[in-house]
């Protein structure tokens, strides 16, 4: 493991410290926590608070999306480990303006349970709390009997849509309805070229040979659905787009938002080449994205790879939400 770090145990506290001190105009750290709330207090007055978070290692998620028009607070857990309820609770309390607080949770046992406990704690203070559990990763088949799908890069689009609506004064119930309408329309699938190394673990979550890739990996090095020899970008696009098409027919009559997301170590050069092939493949299906973003938004430390998110804009207002101006570090 070769990383720019001090003691691996301190990575999260040092990272949060560096982040909030570099960007005091956006973020304020709650004392004795790794919860970061929006510095622009005025922009939150009279509005529903939006809290997201999860394990660290996904930077710029989630603190990079805190700011006017997007999240009110983000809570950073240990690396690849959900934050604890006390920290989430502190964030909820800090952003509540009497209009309630909405939580954006990714579908992992840990995240769901910790956010649920925080919700229980906040409700004892008479703070209204609702939430959505994002589960956009179609690599894992959904089933009533299992944990279900994982929440991955599509979460960033959920932040954006809800952030715009909250900023425009949506109520807690309206946000809840919006979130659950948006939820099934966001789908993501990834391909990895190498795994991430958690600093405290010191070695990669899995090993891929010099010429191997794996489809369907999660953002914590969760294994995917197939391993094979590396292929040209065009073929990777075909595989990932094929999976998305299977999971919900792509329709040239629909409007789509597209997120091409770098997993950490993959340079923009490759992400743009992938986007070129993607746009060609979509064009063949008669689809031209109504909205597109390319870059590192939901990373997995220094994993190499790309995830592809398609968001079916079944409500025209959602496109406005995506284009709504924000003031954040990373959107």
């Amino acid at each position: 493991m070769k990383k720019i770090l001090n003691d691996p145990k301190d990575v999260v506290s040092e990272m949060v410290d560096g982040l909030v001190r570099a960007y005091p105009q956006y973020l304020t750290q709650l004392p004795d926590t790794t919860a970061m709330v929006r510095s622009d207090q005025a922009s939150m007055v009279g509005k529903v608070g939006l809290v997201s978070g999860g394990g660290s290692g996904h930077e710029p998620s989630h603190a990079g999306f805190v700011g006017k028009g997007m999240l009110s607070a983000a809570v950073a857990g240990q690396v690849f480990t959900s934050p604890t309820p006390d920290q989430i609770y502190a964030a909820i309390k800090a952003v509540d303006q009497g209009k309630g607080v909405f939580l954006i949770i990714k579908n992992y046992s840990g995240d769901v349970m910790n956010f649920d406990m925080a919700k229980d704690m906040a409700e004892l203070d008479d703070i209204d709390v609702k939430s959505v559990v994002v589960d956009d990763d179609i690599a894992v088949e959904d089933s009533l009997y299992t944990q279900g799908r994982r929440g991955v890069a599509g979460t960033v689009l959920m932040h954006k849509v809800l952030g715009a609506a909250a900023d425009q004064g949506a109520s807690l119930d309206e946000l809840d309805r919006l979130a659950h309408a948006v939820l099934p329309q966001i789908k993501t699938i990834a391909v990895a070229l190498s795994a991430a190394t958690v600093p405290e673990v010191g070695k990669p979550g899995f090993e891929l040979a010099d010429d191997e890739i794996e489809y369907g990996v999660g953002i914590h090095s969760e294994p995917g659905y197939r391993r094979e020899k590396i292929k040209p970008s065009k073929a990777l696009v075909a595989e990932l787009l094929g999976k998305l098409d299977e999971s919900g027919h792509l329709d040239s009559q629909h409007q789509y938002a597209v997120l091409v997301n770098g997993m950490g170590a993959t340079p923009l050069m490759e992400q743009y080449v992938f986007s070129h092939d993607l746009l060609d493949a979509l064009a063949e299906k008669g689809i031209k994205p109504a909205f597109m973003k390319v870059g590192n938004y939901m990373t997995s430390i220094e994993m190499a790879g790309i995830s592809l998110t398609l968001f079916d804009l079944t409500d025209a207002k959602w496109l406005d939400y995506l284009n709504y101006p924000v003031e954040t570090i990373a959107w």
Binding site: G55, G77, Q78, V79, F80, T81, S82, P83, T84, P85, D86, Q87, Y108, S109, G110, M113, N114, D116, M117, V140, E141, Y145, T146, Q147, R150, V198, E200, V201, G205, G218, H220, S221, E222, P223
Partner: protein
């Protein structure tokens, strides 16, 4: 009747076992999880040890509650709320006057199942808690009972937690949470049941 002294000895012993096996628990969590179960648990148990250092004169409820809060605020991930809830439930029960180990553990297990939604056979720590509880009720907790329960998670298909993303490929691996719960009950055996 479980005492404060016993409980503190139990938890300190548990903490030692977790510390000793940190790397092993991380390794177990690597093929079917995210490789952090050992690190998570160590973080929590270090805090538990610290908070228990001055609790030798406290009542059982205080001990359980302090343990629960340390776990909840330090472990994170899936294990934090699960172990935390278990001890929080025991704190609540002891506050209501319960001191019987069997009843305490039963309450804990109920809370744990509610929190995580896991059933028996889902390849989680529930698969150790369940048979251990039965043995405690029958006054028959032995290291074999614990080991067998832990081992039985190996052929299971995970239905909850990160390992569930693997489907059938989770077969053939011990569940890390089951192993750490194994240490919890081995510690119990060494400090409470056998004494």
């Amino acid at each position: 009747m479980l005492t404060t002294t016993q409980t503190i000895a139990w938890l300190n012993n548990f903490a030692d076992k977790i510390e000793t096996n940190k790397a092993y628990l991380n390794d177990l969590d690597t093929p079917i999880g995210d490789g952090d179960h050992g690190s998570n648990m160590v973080r929590g148990l270090t805090a538990v040890k610290a908070t228990l250092a001055d609790k030798s004169n406290a009542d059982l409820t205080t001990v359980f509650k302090a343990t629960a809060l340390a776990l909840i605020s330090k472990v994170g991930g899936a294990a934090g709320p699960l172990y935390g809830t278990a001890f929080l439930e025991m704190a609540k029960a002891s506050k209501d006057g319960v001191t019987d180990l069997g009843i305490l553990l039963a309450t804990a297990l109920a809370g744990l199942k509610k929190r995580g939604g896991a059933a028996t056979g889902d390849k989680t720590l529930v698969d150790v808690w369940r048979p251990v509880l039965t043995a405690v009720h029958a006054d028959r907790l032995t290291s074999t009972v614990i080991k067998t329960a832990v081992e039985r998670t190996k052929p299971m298909v995970a239905k909850k937690g990160r390992a569930s993303y693997l489907g059938d490929r989770s077969i053939g691996h011990l569940d890390p949470g089951a192993v750490s719960s194994g240490y919890l009950f081995t510690a119990l055996l060494e400090t409470v049941v056998q004494s």
